[in-house]
């Protein structure tokens, strides 16, 4: 078989961490999810203690770490996969099929455990590992033997989380970033679920060497996801329709190298329309008229964007009690050391002129705060003919209105409003069923293809 390109050099596809890389830390099986940047000095707070993240540098994504106690106190150290057994899902030979025990004799009181807090501290001082402490707790539990295998496993997991917390090193990519925000801070990404995001990308035919027009009021998630799919080719044009650009901090969670970052550019609608008074322009005649020229303020925009970025950078707060924190964003001097490329420069006039000549190859809108139809109406003239588009909203009505208008003004075909539905299953021997908890809603999408309609502009 020929042609084994393995393009592993691009930063995006690196599978081993490096100093300055962005990571997603999954603490105790999803109990907490934390974005972080691995530097000499970055730390992660678990319980009351700060742990250095240095041991994570140079490890493959997917590695698992556990808090271990040693002579110089506790630290994160890498677990070999063969050593991990206590995770219910991962434990292959766990056979609950023939269960003879039940919970009839279990009494809930505080007397079941005979080891005290002091006993545990003492064990620690003697150098016991987390796993040894868990074994000791089990040995001293009056009820453990009577529990069903399932409850035993739950007990073990609970103790493990407390006495030997684990940190899974995950790769921050569109999938994990979207899922993390959706779980912890859904409002920041407009309640966009990962399956919805995936549909937006394919419905808008996001591909290498294309020019995608994006209105991203979901924190940069959409911009990042689109850029990831283009791999440093083409352009993601992050468009703003009001006076200042929308924040896109989430883009920094991705590990984009320079080649991808410089493909993420910003433009205001007025910049895109400004020179369009040339009557020979082939697209969008009435747009330039509709746009108030007083809105042209795109020039100082990149400055605004920069300062907002720095603000994010300088807040060095660490762990809040729960949930996800965008911690350990590097301080000034660290930034210079690990050179995190910046995305979102202002589009050059040359690029803008190219878009004006060719039109964008597709459009994606996720702008819950804007009027959907007016936004789409203003942007459609900037798309090339036959360009697909996908409009996201967490409410149905704006999309229904927009679809109706697109239809009656004969601007598009293949119009469809769809709502994805995602269900996860627990698959275990004799215990397979849909998961008890599910997300009942992940947003709506209006999709279609722009047609070339000489009658309507």
């Amino acid at each position: 078989m020929s042609g084994n390109q393995s393009n592993v050099d691009s930063v995006q596809s690196r599978r081993v961490t490096w100093e300055g890389c962005s990571v997603l830390l999954d603490i105790n099986d999803g109990d907490r999810l934390v974005f972080s940047r691995l530097t000499e000095n970055s730390t992660l707070k678990i319980g009351k203690k700060n742990y250095s993240l240095r041991p994570l540098i140079g490890c493959p994504f997917g590695s698992l770490f556990q808090v271990e106690y040693g002579a110089e106190g506790s630290k994160l150290s890498r677990l070999l996969r063969s050593a991990e057994v206590s995770n219910i899902e991962d434990n292959g030979d766990y056979q609950p099929v023939e269960e003879h025990r039940d919970n009839r004799e279990l009494v809930d009181n505080n007397k079941a455990q005979s080891l005290s807090g002091e006993d545990i501290e003492e064990l620690r001082r003697q150098g016991a590992t987390g796993d040894e402490i868990i074994e000791a707790l089990i040995a001293n539990s009056a009820t453990f033997e009577k529990k069903t295998a399932f409850s035993q496993e739950k007990y073990r997991l609970k103790k493990q989380k407390k006495y030997a917390p684990r940190v899974l090193l995950r790769r921050p990519v569109a999938r994990s970033i979207c899922e993390t925000y959706f779980t912890k801070y859904p409002a920041r990404i407009g309640f966009m679920r990962v399956d919805t995001l995936s549909l937006l990308l394919s419905m808008a035919n996001v591909a290498a060497n294309s020019d995608i027009l994006v209105v991203d009021m979901v924190g940069g998630l959409l911009t990042g996801a689109v850029a990831e799919r283009m791999g440093g080719s083409g352009y993601v044009c992050n468009m703003y329709l009001e006076s200042s650009p929308y924040p896109m901090d989430i883009v920094r969670m991705f590990n984009f190298g320079d080649e991808i970052c410089k493909r993420i550019v910003r433009t205001s609608l007025s910049d895109l329309c400004s020179v369009q008074n040339d009557p020979s322009e082939q697209m969008g005649h009435d747009v330039s008229i509709q746009n108030d020229p007083s809105e042209q303020m795109g020039h100082d925009v990149s400055a605004t964007a920069n300062s907002s970025n720095e603000q994010m950078c300088s807040h060095e707060t660490l762990t809040e009690p729960s949930g996800m924190e965008e911690i350990a964003l590097p301080s000034e001097n660290e930034v210079s050391k690990c050179k995190i490329p910046k995305a979102g420069d202002k589009a050059s006039q040359e690029t803008i002129d190219l878009w004006k000549a060719n039109g964008f190859s597709s459009l994606i809108v996720a702008a819950p705060e804007l009027d959907t139809w007016n936004t789409v109406k203003d942007l459609m003239p900037h798309l090339s003919h036959s360009a697909p588009f996908a409009i996201y909203h967490q409410y149905l009505q704006p999309l229904a209105t927009c679809m109706h208008r697109l239809q009656s003004e004969k601007m598009a075909v293949g119009l469809q409003i769809s709502e994805p539905w995602l269900r996860e299953y627990q698959v275990l021997p004799s215990r397979t069923h849909p998961c008890m908890q599910m997300s009942a809603f992940g947003g709506y999408i209006l999709s279609g293809v722009k047609i070339c309609n000489p009658e309507s502009a």
Binding site: P60, D211, R229, G231, S386, P388, I417, W421, V427, T432
Partner: protein, 309 residues
């Protein structure tokens, strides 16, 4: 369909040329893939369309038949292709396809393995996702299907990033030359559990696998096989509910205008001159789910290769 050469950007503002693949759009559920050829005609219930009339027009154009029927000529994309390709097998549709690509974390430059190729519906989207620098190796043990798939990939212009192999993957696994090189493996096979060991050999550490199976028994067996070398094993079902949109005029109720509160606040301002006069009669845009929908396609089981070192 793909722009593999950055100097020739994907731009639909180019016009239709002889030999181009176009998607002839009649209605959302009636489309056809046609290769433009100056001397030919396209025929449907609206009449006869001459290809020569199409050449030189922009993609997205409305074109007329001898009886003034019309169709639209759209530029091909993997989504449209999935709707028009010839079904030699069951195929994957956009909902599953989108989710698979996102969840397998496929990006440009990735090396992806797939079996079976089937009708190449998924392969076409995989090709878009890995292009321009990655590659898809897809295998089917059915010689004829592999050959037809190859022809399709030529036709849709993705063949430079796709290699179709004829091979019994369940019997022999993936070829050894690809060992340790894959960023993702996708299986749509009757007995996927037979391939898990081979798939584990092909994947890089922490790389992803997905198996698509219509039946839960298949899922059960696959998951058992996966537990050895994989972690993060998760099974999903993903569906799409479509909505119908109607404009309902309520002029019979209140006469002219209706109460202002009935109107959506956002957009009843003045619209450009061309819009219809009905604006002044109160009407409501209503949406409801379509009565019919697919209730099941298949279960998608994902897993990640454990890091061994």
């Amino acid at each position: 369909m793909l722009a593999l050469d950055p100097s020739k950007k994907l731009s639909f503002n180019k016009t239709i040329a002889d030999g181009d693949l176009v998607i002839v759009y009649e209605r959302h559920d009636t489309m056809k893939a046609v290769n433009v050829s100056e001397g030919s005609v396209f025929q449907n219930r609206f009449g006869v369309f001459k290809h020569s009339d199409w050449v030189g027009r922009p993609f997205g154009s409305k074109v007329y038949s001898n009886k003034s029927g019309y169709v639209y000529l759209l530029a091909p994309s993997p989504e449209l292709w999935t709707l028009v390709l010839s079904h030699r097998t069951q195929i994957l549709y956009i909902t599953d396809i989108s989710f698979v690509i996102m969840y397998l974390e496929i990006v440009p430059g990735c090396l992806v393995l797939e079996s079976g190729t089937g009708s190449g519906s998924l392969t076409t989207s995989l090709a878009r996702a890995v292009a321009p620098t990655g590659h898809v190796y897809t295998f089917d043990f059915h010689e004829q299907r592999a050959a037809s798939a190859r022809e399709d990939f030529e036709r849709t212009g993705v063949s430079s990033v796709v290699t179709v192999g004829v091979r019994d993957i369940q019997g022999k696994g993936f070829p050894d030359e690809l060992c340790g090189m894959a960023d993702a493996v996708f299986l749509d096979l009757p007995q996927p559990w037979l391939v898990i060991v081979s798939a584990a050999k092909m994947l890089k550490p922490d790389a992803t696998l997905c198996s698509f199976s219509p039946c839960i028994e298949q899922v059960q067996r696959s998951c058992e096989a996966l537990r050895m070398n994989f972690t993060d094993i998760r099974t999903f079902d993903v569906l799409l509910r479509a909505y119908e949109v109607r404009e309902v005029k309520n002029d019979s109720m209140q006469g002219h205008g209706g109460s202002p509160s009935q109107q959506p606040p956002c957009k009843r301002r003045q619209t450009s001159e061309g819009s219809n006069k009905q604006e002044s009669i109160s009407s409501t845009i209503m949406a409801r789910p379509s009565a019919e929908a697919k209730g099941h396609t298949g279960y998608l089981t994902f897993a990640r290769l454990k890091c061994s070192e």
